[in-house]
Symmetry: C2
Subunit: 188 residues, 2 copies
């Protein structure tokens, strides 16, 4: 399983996008980090925008497909919520840098902006519907569903900020304590 030069560039670009944001990263920054001249990058990629689009759409697709499977499953609401949490943890661990771009640089998409926004809206709508079912059958606390959605989603979306191989929260702790914290709170 070797990474092509193009994949190498994409991984490095994601890392730099995370550190400084898409707009602040120049093609020369990426090239320098690869020990290469900026023009050489264009033997492998079409544009800077292609880098961003690849990173974001690829990751967003993972979320969309994962959520679809959860929605269609016959589980209880709390089981579905646990699976959503696991989905976020897994994708985050797989490549935290991609999630930074997804969260912070999506507005710099050009061709694919509308497509991305549709995916994101669909994801949130699925999440919301799961919460509302749980609210209706009493499985979930009687509080504003938007706030519960927001609270969970905020935490899950910024997981990449806290997960790190060194110095951060490790994967095992995340998988055991994160669901309980989100579902049962800090006090309970």
């Amino acid at each position: 399983m070797k990474v092509s030069r193009k994949e190498e560039i994409i991984l490095l670009a994601a890392k730099l996008f995370r550190e400084k944001g898409y707009s602040a990263v120049t093609m020369r920054d990426i090239a320098d980090a690869l020990g290469v001249k900026a023009a050489s990058l264009y033997n492998h990629i079409r544009s800077k925008q292609e880098l961003l689009s690849t990173i974001i759409i690829q990751t967003a697709t993972q979320f969309t497909e994962g959520m679809q499977a959860i929605v269609e499953s016959p589980e209880s609401t709390s089981q579905k919520l646990r699976h959503i949490i696991e989905l976020h943890i897994e994708i985050t661990i797989q490549n935290p840098d991609f999630l930074a771009a997804l969260n912070n640089d999506w507005m710099h998409l050009e061709e694919d902006l509308q497509f991305f926004l549709q995916m994101r809206e669909g994801y949130e709508e699925n999440f919301r519907s799961i919460i509302k079912v749980g609210l209706a059958n009493g499985e979930i606390a009687d509080r504003d569903p938007e706030i519960m959605l927001f609270s969970m989603l905020s935490t899950l979306r910024t997981l990449y900020l806290w997960y790190a191989k060194k110095g951060g929260i490790d994967a095992k702790t995340l998988k055991t304590d994160m669901p309980d914290t989100l579902l049962c709170g800090v006090l309970g």
Copy 2:
């Protein structure tokens, strides 16, 4: 209480920084939105960097001072946590755009970067110590304190994304249901 031209520029800059990020906003963007030429801005401000620094340091100072008061108070852990939540809600409502810059553009600070990082670290350390006291006296669930800290802080930091005068979650709902959701979870 009228706003000076300088304050007007800062407020508008914060709005644009929120929409596109610091690096992607040009002085000409800010000037256009004000119906003015870019060079005219320099009659009121020293640099683009001054705009960012003012926005971020001013807001970070509010958090630092608010947290200091909470830490020094003689309340229970859960009362302190409720006050932290209220602090975030109040500062967020006061100017959501400033919080976007604080969260997303702090890495573009130049002179004030170290000062900001110190403030942020101090804030997190105070938050952590409150959680640990609650853990020690049994007031808080026996789970990884880092995850509880992360979970609350992630939600509170991205409040600005959800609060909106129109179409979002309103201030009253936030103040009533947010503390319960964070402290007691979704199920409980």
